[in-house]
Symmetry: C2
Subunit: 658 residues, 2 copies
């Protein structure tokens, strides 16, 4: 299929071929037409724009026209393509969007011929009972809407909120069948419909399995799954194993159609694919790119593009915590790069400004921004205070130079002094009213961080389409080790779902794998992290983050255990951490760190509520679009008490609360 792929990349929307003329493309289509076997279909691995129904419809039509020119059996778009995933709650508040998507669907239908168009849209539920809408796929052919298939299993966990707006369909299996002009027939399911195999999963969320039902009752030649399925750590492994398992179990090929592009916090990796009746992967589209992908599920498969490096060799690995982040680094890089590009692009921003401290967080952010937006659209601002070391300043400058981004340096000493002097008088005045002044506070640290925030937002106010970026990382957000209106402040937070140990690995990876090697100065990677906001009186040097918190290797494993294993303090005390295998850690020290973690986390939730959007990267995260922790839930006991302790607390005598 290699030549086929090459021709496809010529005829439609390949960023490397944007200079080709319509004539070139037409010639490619003609040649391609001769090569195609009976039963070929096109997977339209496209990047929709949430809410931009018109834009999505016009884009779909372009792909449809090329599919018609090739006279394939069908062209298949992802789930909810016309409205664009994610939909948030706007379809509820603005029904005009749904009306528009139905009109555009009808308009597209008028343009169809015998090449069937299979496309996700929102259907109205006209019955008296149930949610307003269905999450549906329409089959368009010969100028009409031939049939509509509705999603039955509606995920409603983590980043998924389908059940908020959609009624689960009680579809009878015959309605899922579409027959193509080659005589082949396919059974159509929608995303989660394909994720409930009772033999593959230990627990099932739903009672019925639409894949099983349609295969057993209708015997389709293959299954088509129209999806919008995001990338997360270990998800490719799960998805591959599950789809392969189901294809083999039913000896029925599966065509899995995914979108690409990012929507706010969600990133889609594309990687649409076909498994044959033996469960073998016989075609796979590119990762993180739009692709007009021709496959033939019953006759030859298609091209197999590589996964991001590292995923392939870990396809069968179990989940376990590891400090070897290598297998997930390219995926992480591609995910965040795409997320930045689409957040800025889809919101209408073009330029990013960020503070360059010479530290790891802002350094990695700068590289990602340069790669996502183009170096010319990034401005790094070095904003030293009197604590900032020469090394840090030099590192910032060198990084900017290496990346080719715009750079400027401006001291914040004067802003700090002006504010500091002001505070002296102000605090003395307030102290007369409130007797709760801290002996030691973070006020000075935060003036510095906030002065920087002030400068960055000022630049964004003054220059067009420019958005400041927040550089907080995941390890520090868990610990509340981030300044509101300071490093936490920005319109987007690229690395908020990347832990510190992984950031170090990512920095090394970037130096090795970007076309321009070693853009990140060695000293950035080698120095131990610290905010350079305060001096540690014990060392008389800038306070290091690990001195204020705990070793990052330990911290990151706590976070991993919370997110992936849902462990309590008791659970974690009973298990051995990787850090404990390397270093001598007493049980008391471990317990202190664990308690410190949960205490700091409990007091950080109010900070999480005001974090800007950020891309989900890990298997689980604290991203607001998947995890909500009310800040008021500050008294959770993360350490189980015994039943006897509880009985003792229920005292017999009435106790009066005030």
């Amino acid at each position: 299929m290699d030549r086929i792929e090459e021709l496809c990349s010529i005829i439609l929307k390949d960023i490397n071929n944007k200079n080709l003329t319509p004539e070139d493309k037409s010639a490619a289509a003609n040649e391609l037409n001769c090569l195609l076997a009976e039963g070929s279909i096109v997977i339209a691995q496209s990047n929709p724009h949430s809410g931009d129904v018109r834009g999505n419809a016009i884009k779909a039509y372009e792909w449809i026209k090329w599919a018609q020119k090739l006279n394939v059996d069908a062209v298949i778009f992802p789930e909810l393509f016309l409205v664009g995933y994610p939909i948030g709650d706007f379809v509820d508040r603005f029904p005009v969007i749904v009306e528009e998507n139905i009109e555009w669907l009808n308009a597209l239908a008028l343009k169809t011929n015998s090449v069937k168009v299979i496309i996700g849209f929102i259907e109205k539920n006209t019955r008296k009972t149930g949610k307003k809408y269905y999450n549906s796929v329409a089959v368009l052919s010969d100028g009409k809407i031939e049939k509509v298939i509705r999603k039955s299993l509606l995920p409603n966990y983590a980043e998924f909120n389908d059940y908020r707006h959609f009624e689960p369909a009680e579809t009878d299996s015959s309605s899922r069948i579409v027959e193509f002009k080659s005589g082949k027939k396919a059974g159509i399911v929608i995303c989660e419909d394909g994720w409930n195999d009772r033999d593959f999963f230990e627990k099932n969320l739903y009672k019925n399995d639409p894949v099983e039902t349609v295969i057993e009752e209708q015997h389709p030649d293959f299954i088509i799954n129209c999806s919008a399925s995001i990338t997360r750590a270990k998800k490719e492994q799960l998805k591959h194993n599950m789809l392969s398992f189901a294809a083999k179990k039913y000896t029925t090929p599966i065509v899995y159609v995914n979108q690409t592009g990012s929507g706010e916090c969600l990133s889609f990796d594309g990687c649409s694919r076909v498994y044959n009746a033996d469960g073998e992967l016989i075609a796979r589209a590119k990762s993180y790119e739009e692709q007009f992908f021709v496959v033939n599920p019953l006759n030859g498969g298609g091209a197999v593009y590589p996964l991001p490096a590292g995923l392939e060799k870990t396809l069968n690995e179990q989940k376990a915590f590891s400090l070897d982040h290598e297998p997930d680094l390219e995926r992480t890089y591609l995910t965040i790069k795409q997320a930045i590009r689409d957040y800025f692009g889809k919101c209408g921003f073009k330029r990013a400004v960020l503070g360059l401290s010479g530290g790891l967080d802002s350094t990695v952010c700068a590289v990602l921004l340069a790669d996502a937006l183009g170096a010319e659209n990034v401005l790094g601002v070095s904003m030293p205070s009197k604590i900032t070391s020469e090394t840090s300043k030099n590192d910032a400058r060198e990084l900017a130079h290496n990346l080719g981004i715009n750079f400027t340096e401006v001291t914040i000493k004067d802003m700090f002094e002006t504010t500091r002097i002001k505070f002296d008088g102000l605090f003395a005045d307030i102290e007369k009213k409130w007797d709760c002044r801290y002996k030691e506070s973070f006020t000075n640290d935060n003036i510095q961080a906030r002065s920087r925030g002030m400068l960055l937002w000022g630049i964004a106010n003054e220059f067009g389409s420019c958005l400041p970026v927040a550089t907080s990382d995941k390890s520090e957000l868990y610990m509340g080790y981030a300044t509101i209106n300071g490093d936490m402040s920005g319109g987007y937070a690229p690395i908020a779902d990347v832990c510190k140990t992984k950031l170090f690995a990512l920095a090394e990876w970037l130096n090795k794998n970007r076309p321009e090697k070693n853009a990140i100065p060695r000293s950035v990677i080698e120095k131990r992290p610290g905010a350079e906001l305060a001096i540690n009186p014990e060392t008389n040097k800038p306070l290091l983050a690990e001195e204020a918190l705990m070793p990052y290797e330990f911290l990151d494993e706590v976070i991993w255990r919370v997110e992936n294993l849902q462990q309590s303090i008791n659970d974690m005390i009973d298990e051995t951490f990787l850090y404990e295998k390397k270093e001598n850690v007493s049980k008391e020290q471990k317990t202190r760190w664990l308690k410190k973690f949960f205490k700091r986390m409990s007091f950080s939730h109010y900070k999480w509520t005001i974090m800007p959007p950020s891309p989900i990267v890990d298997a689980r995260s604290i991203n607001k679009s998947e995890y909500v922790h009310p800040a008021i839930a500050s008294k959770i006991n993360y350490q189980k008490t015994t039943f006897e302790q509880k009985l003792l607390e229920l005292k017999e005598e009435p106790v009066f609360q005030v």
Copy 2:
């Protein structure tokens, strides 16, 4: 029942009686015991703390002991009481919380006798299929868990997310029945279970109606509905009419149990109540207060406490936009006051600091904070710039004096100058790199707003348990007329769900109805709103908000139509606004305003993502806990196009996108 109520308020947790001794309380209980008729039950209208299972259990036990002393039939707690509503997603990530709630339930059960305890908790789903948990109510008696009733209808819209964590129960109706020692039997439903009457609602979300089923199959003497139901504009009217309708329809009394207190963005108004078999209200607990409320659904009812003023007389009114906000002002005041108190209290904050500009927003916030936290815990800071008028400064000072809150004044001129000078050089430098400098920008306006934010957060860093408050209002948030890290910045945003016209009415109401009359200076209410951040070149006076936006009366009606009627631009052009009845508005002007509204809103979504938590007040809101609008959805067309226009846009010739 008046004497009964008085005695109840003596025996348990009445804030006005906190100085009573245990002996006084015991005497009251003895007297009360003599007065109670057979079949009396206690509604435990209590305020749980999300996640604080231990605290909730100990509190429950105290109420249980008093109910036992009175030897009533039962004491009934709200939905999910043991874990505390709302649960966010923490029960998914921290299963230790659910384990703890089950152990505490067992511990409480051991302490029960023939007085039945009906209490909401989270039950584990041990089957292979379905969500992890059930939203359940346990009936505890004689030292055991007698039975468990599971919620069937799981709301998953607006602020509700039940289906994320709970499996809907297929409860057979007999399991809903509990029999009391008086011989009476009740059918138990949980919150949404009671909100699906096919005759009351035009559309139904669910197929089955647990109230209908349990009454028709089991013929209980009355229904108990354990709820956690938030207050919103027009919801009391809906709730009252629905419960009254159902009681009458089935000639079966309904006991409706609600919680009080606030959880993050959600506020519960209490107002537990009983309807008799004729659908008449025969008992109603206090609003916004915890109450140990004795009722007798079949024999005498109970006390009927008043609703917030205005709600009673509008109980049967239909929804329509009105600039007469009066009927909703006391409810608005009580909701926000409670929300502030509980957000601060439950997060662990005690003091609030806010900027006092002399304008309406900060003024109303200051009054609400003073009433919620105590004047001594509030610090108002006047931070004039060179644009700030003498009137504004005087108004801020006078307000603080009237409220008795702490007050200080500190100019930001020096901070502004330092930053402004810095920017001159910085921008000149950046201009060499980027040719996108605005001719006119909001930079100067925002330096002022952000300098103020810097001061407020500095105070919070320096003084214990202190949180800055964001003063943005709903009208301005819709228009993006708010400064990031400025007036939008804070840990909590008390009035983010109150429109400007309602804020004016609320200010008048506060002046009339607080014990200290006229705390708000007249000139605050009389002057037209403006941020005093910039001079209008046309008038040479500080720019007024309505000059920058549109008349608030018009704007607020647009917002109301979007939220309550889900109208598009086309819908609104066709209807007559209240403002149009008063003023001469051309169709062109109206269209311009509408387009401006949607354009500004589309570009404000990224600001919404970083707003701090705020209390829901209106029937619908942009509060993050009920409405998510991805910032990337910036290209929604809020104005429908014709089908013909669409067909024209689908051009026959292939068009290549870049």
